[in-house]
């Protein structure tokens, strides 16, 4: 572990320790926050009982679907929009202001259309995440060296092969930013949508635990989501660093 990594780890452990201590000493009301050790032990019990399995499968399944659709469709739309400058010119103001609009206001509309199912959740998730991927794709494609287009023509590559074998990897560092944002937006949108209105899922479970004043369950579920999100982002960060190192010659 690097020195910076060790400091980072020590800060996190210190903060958890301080929270544990504050809860145990009664500095923080037990009705407000429970000690982290209790969150962890409750989570272990819940996971061991298997009672969370269905909700975990549903929520993570929806998150993965949202991320997959946003990344694939976002890249595809980005490619098409990049190839059509006039369309891009028309859409640019829309992209620039997209995140100024609270997309979640359309969630009730989607429920009215598709019913109380996974479809509105996935749609609201994709709607939240896809534009970040489109913008990242456009940004990445803008930075692909023009000479690669000539190389593609010298090798007589089709437009699809050019996109997949040259444009995609050449734009990868920027696309990866889009992937990371899609992952974050995917988690936020799915959990929030479940929290607001959904029959099942981890977000619903947290909302129910909150309504029932069941702090142990609520914090255990929050801890679970924090761990999942941290692990996923950690893996993405590690991949990003590895590729960046390769491109910059950091291993020489």
């Amino acid at each position: 572990m690097t020195r910076v990594g060790a400091i980072r780890f020590a800060v996190i452990v210190g903060m958890i320790g301080a929270l544990e201590l504050a809860c145990r000493l009664g500095l923080i009301n037990h009705q407000t926050i429970i000690p982290p050790s209790e969150m962890a032990s409750t989570l272990v019990t819940l996971l061991a009982s298997g009672s969370l399995n269905a909700d975990i499968a549903r929520t993570l399944g929806e998150v993965m679907l949202v991320i997959g659709l946003s990344v694939v469709l976002g890249f595809a739309f980005g490619l098409v929009i990049h190839a059509l400058p006039r369309v891009r010119e028309a859409l640019d103001p829309f992209f620039a202001t997209y995140y100024a609009v609270p997309i979640f206001i359309f969630y009730p509309v989607l429920i009215a259309i598709f019913g109380l199912s996974a479809i509105p959740i996935v749609l609201i998730g994709v709607a939240t995440a896809i534009v970040a991927m489109i913008i990242a794709t456009l940004n990445g494609l803008d930075r692909v060296p023009p000479v690669l287009a000539k190389v593609a023509r010298v090798h007589r590559l089709s437009p699809v092969t050019t996109a997949l074998t040259l444009q995609l990897p050449a734009a990868a560092p920027y696309l990866f930013t889009g992937v990371k944002l899609s992952v974050s937006y995917g988690f936020i949108a799915v959990i929030a949508a479940e929290f607001i209105l959904s029959p099942t899922g981890l977000g619903r479970d947290i909302a129910d635990a909150y309504a029932d004043f069941n702090n142990r369950r609520m914090y255990a579920l929050i801890l679970f989501l924090l761990i999942v999100a941290t692990v996923v982002n950690g893996v993405l960060h590690a991949l990003d660093m590895r590729w960046a190192e390769r491109r910059s010659g950091g291993r020489s």
Binding site: P145, L148, K150, V151, R156, L157, T161, T165, P169, A172
Partner: protein
């Protein structure tokens, strides 16, 4: 200057070719090239020199099939070339066109794998090309770990493995220092001799053209036309030591004599009085 015995078989031909870029927005059309006529003999090394912006790279791209000629005909091995790169043509560009996400070996293998060549054959050709280009020990390195000259060699290796019969080099050493350029010149001469390919080199360096080529086409300021074609008369077995030959200086001087006025035109100046008097 010695008379060279050039091959007689025409490998590629450019007849009456012009290239005019159409008007865009408020910009009028640009007559970039021609009319140009040229025959490249099979196995010949031909260099094109000319002032900046004279259309050298446009000429190469029209010959390669990367751009369509506005008028005229380009043929390679008797078949018309127009807007599509023909099989057997390889191009090396001035810009670094190596793929930073692939190792040196995978860079070199790119075209072969796209063409569905069997992996054993890919490895054989790649090993051969990397050894030839002095990159064998760097097969597993990434381009970012190499110098500019080595990255350009990776691009040449990527072209070489496809066994092109016509190799087009667009100022491939433009970004390299003078000493590395001389050494790269030797490597290109080795490559040319070993493959037997026809080579067309675009360069702004008169000494590089004089050292490498059998014939050198001197191009006018835009629109680019050949105002002189100089035969160097060098033997096929040659290397960078020929820069010490008297003929080398004569060739370079003749090229500069032809190009000085054109270069001034390209810079937006009138010809110097001494030139005007000639």
């Amino acid at each position: 200057m010695k008379n060279s015995s050039l091959p007689h078989e025409v490998h590629a031909q450019v007849a009456g070719v012009t290239r005019i870029y159409p008007a865009t927005g408020h910009h009028p059309p640009v007559h970039a090239l021609g009319p140009i006529d040229l025959e490249l003999g099979k196995g010949e090394f031909f260099a094109v020199v000319g002032p900046s912006g004279c259309g050298k790279s446009t000429f190469l791209e029209v010959l390669a099939g990367l751009q369509k000629a506005t008028a005229g005909l380009v043929t390679f091995e008797g078949k018309a070339v127009s807007g599509e790169v023909a099989d057997g043509i390889g191009v090396v560009f001035q810009e670094d066109a190596s793929f930073p996400w692939l190792t040196v070996a995978d860079n070199a293998a790119f075209g072969l794998r796209r063409n569905g060549i069997a992996e054993a054959e890919v490895r054989r050709r790649v090993d051969d090309a990397l050894a030839f280009m002095g990159l064998k020990d760097f097969a597993r390195a990434y381009p970012s770990q190499l110098s500019g000259g080595m990255r350009q060699r990776v691009c040449i290796a990527r072209t070489l493995v496809l066994q092109p019969r016509l190799i087009l080099l667009d100022e491939p050493f433009g970004a390299l220092d003078a000493q590395t350029r001389l050494l790269m010149g030797d490597e290109v001469l080795n490559l040319w001799r070993r493959t037997g390919a026809t080579v067309l080199l675009i360069t702004h360096a008169l000494d590089e053209a004089a050292m490498l080529a059998d014939r050198i086409g001197a191009m006018s300021a835009r629109p680019g036309r050949f105002i002189d074609v100089v035969k160097t008369g060098w033997p096929r077995e040659r290397d960078s030591t020929i820069v010490a030959e008297t003929a080398f200086g004569e060739i370079t001087a003749r090229l500069w004599e032809r190009l000085r006025g054109e270069s001034l035109k390209a810079l937006g100046h009138a010809a110097m009085p001494a030139m005007a008097a000639e």
